[in-house]
């Protein structure tokens, strides 16, 4: 089985940001992403997802290293200051390298 290495960029942030974030990702040339509802606790307190204002989303993007870097840089400058947001990058193996 031939596989290629790509980056998995995971963003966990406030659900309120979803619509603007999605626009940003499209503008930065991200081909696809997956969003799931999430809850947890961090430096900005508990995000229990009991209702819309306190819920989080988890955005996952598989892309090449350059795109991951671009998205991470954009999010860092644009959102880190004012919003509850973390992101991390891991290596993943994909089977169809042309897709990502």
């Amino acid at each position: 089985m031939k596989s290629a290495i790509r980056k998995l960029l995971t963003i966990i942030t406030e659900a309120a940001l979803e619509s603007v974030l999605v626009k940003d990702l499209q503008r930065l040339g991200v081909q696809g992403y997956t969003i799931t509802d999430a809850r947890g606790r961090g430096s900005r307190g508990a995000r229990t997802a009991a209702w819309s204002e306190s819920s989080n989303i988890r955005v996952e993007i598989v892309c090449d290293a350059a795109a991951a870097e671009a998205v991470a840089a954009h999010l860092r400058t644009r959102y880190y200051e004012d919003y509850a947001m973390i992101l991390f990058v891991t290596d993943v193996a994909v089977l169809r390298s042309e897709k990502f």
């Binding site: 940001l17 209702w51 204002e53």
Partner: protein
């Protein structure tokens, strides 16, 4: 004193469960459904009657209510900024919450009115929609000034197509188009179940309110005082406006309740995007932790008594 309405006992149950850290919670999808049902019920009920109202009156009332929605945050802002010594973004955001309206409080008020057979003007749900909007714009202007690029188009989309407004306006239109006979088959879901749905909703509201108490402890007395003082002031403005517009006693009381209530859905969402520097914990602690429980437990009967005494003195 009449016993507390059972829906309020559900609110207190949620509050107590939250404070005692019970693991009780309404699944998010159920909460969504329950709030959709409330919004649609309120819209439909208003829509059925809307056709019977003279258009000129409704338009005049809508303009007056919009002016009130713009005025209230302008009064709240300097109080928050100077008496509360809050940062500009926080003061503007909280001011916007208090200029706008809480549909949950409105729903509790309709249950209170129904229990006492108090009638109010049928176009109140329309005024409810209208009152949601101006405070958001005023709040954003207070926070950011005119100078910077406001992206009015995106903002209008966010505000006007938010879930609350779409469902209220949609309900109004469907109710207006269908009339009472058309809606009879849906009556069991939207009207007969109203109080049961409201009870479930308030159970979750109690849990959400309890979650705000922690941040309230951190941010001190000022928010508590503001969270009670501001609705008292706003309700007086609402009563004067309702009386001035020639509304009935029920309508005037409802307008006072709407003026006194503070938003916790439409405004926080808009502020989070448009005024990101504002700390949402502060505004939600005030509007949900203080003003919502104050209004539903004490405010509604109090504003009713205030309006009644104004009408008795001036002879309404």
């Amino acid at each position: 004193m009449s016993p507390l309405d059972p829906v309020l006992l559900f609110f207190l149950l949620g509050l107590a469960a939250g404070l005692l850290r019970s693991e009780l919670r309404l699944p998010a999808a159920v909460y969504e459904l329950v709030s959709m049902l409330l919004l649609l019920s309120i819209g439909l009920k208003g829509g059925i009657e809307l056709g019977k109202q003279p258009v000129g009156d409704v338009a005049l009332h809508a303009l007056a209510v919009m002016a009130m929605g713009a005025l209230l945050p302008l009064i709240a802002f300097p109080v928050l900024r100077f008496a509360g010594r809050l940062r500009r973004a926080d003061a503007a955001s909280i001011a916007a919450h208090y200029g706008s309206v809480s549909v949950a409080t409105y729903a509790v008020a309709t249950a209170y009115f129904a229990g006492r057979q108090i009638v109010f003007e049928a176009h109140m749900p329309f005024l409810l929609v209208v009152l949601e909007i101006p405070a958001i714009l005023v709040g954003i202007l207070l926070a950011r000034g005119f100078s910077r690029d406001l992206r009015i188009g995106a903002l209008a989309h966010e505000v006007l197509l938010g879930k609350g407004i779409v469902l209220l306006v949609g309900g109004l239109l469907i109710g207006w188009a269908s009339g009472p006979e058309g809606l009879t088959p849906m009556k069991p879901l939207f009207f007969d179940l109203f109080k049961g749905v409201l009870a479930l909703f308030l159970l979750e509201m109690g849990l959400i309110t309890a979650a705000q108490f922690g941040s309230l402890r951190q941010h001190g007395v000022f928010l508590v005082l503001f969270g009670i003082g501001m609705p008292l002031f706003s309700s007086a403005v609402g009563i004067l406006l309702g009386y001035g517009l020639g509304l009935s006693l029920g309508g005037t009381t409802m307008l006072a309740i709407m003026a006194a209530s503070a938003s916790y859905i439409a405004v926080p969402a808009a502020m989070r995007i448009s005024v990101p520097q504002a700390n949402p914990t502060l505004s939600l602690a005030a509007s949900l932790g203080v003003t919502f429980p104050f209004n539903v437990l004490v405010g509604i009967p109090l504003y009713h008594a205030m309006a009644t005494s104004v009408f008795a003195r001036i002879g309404g």
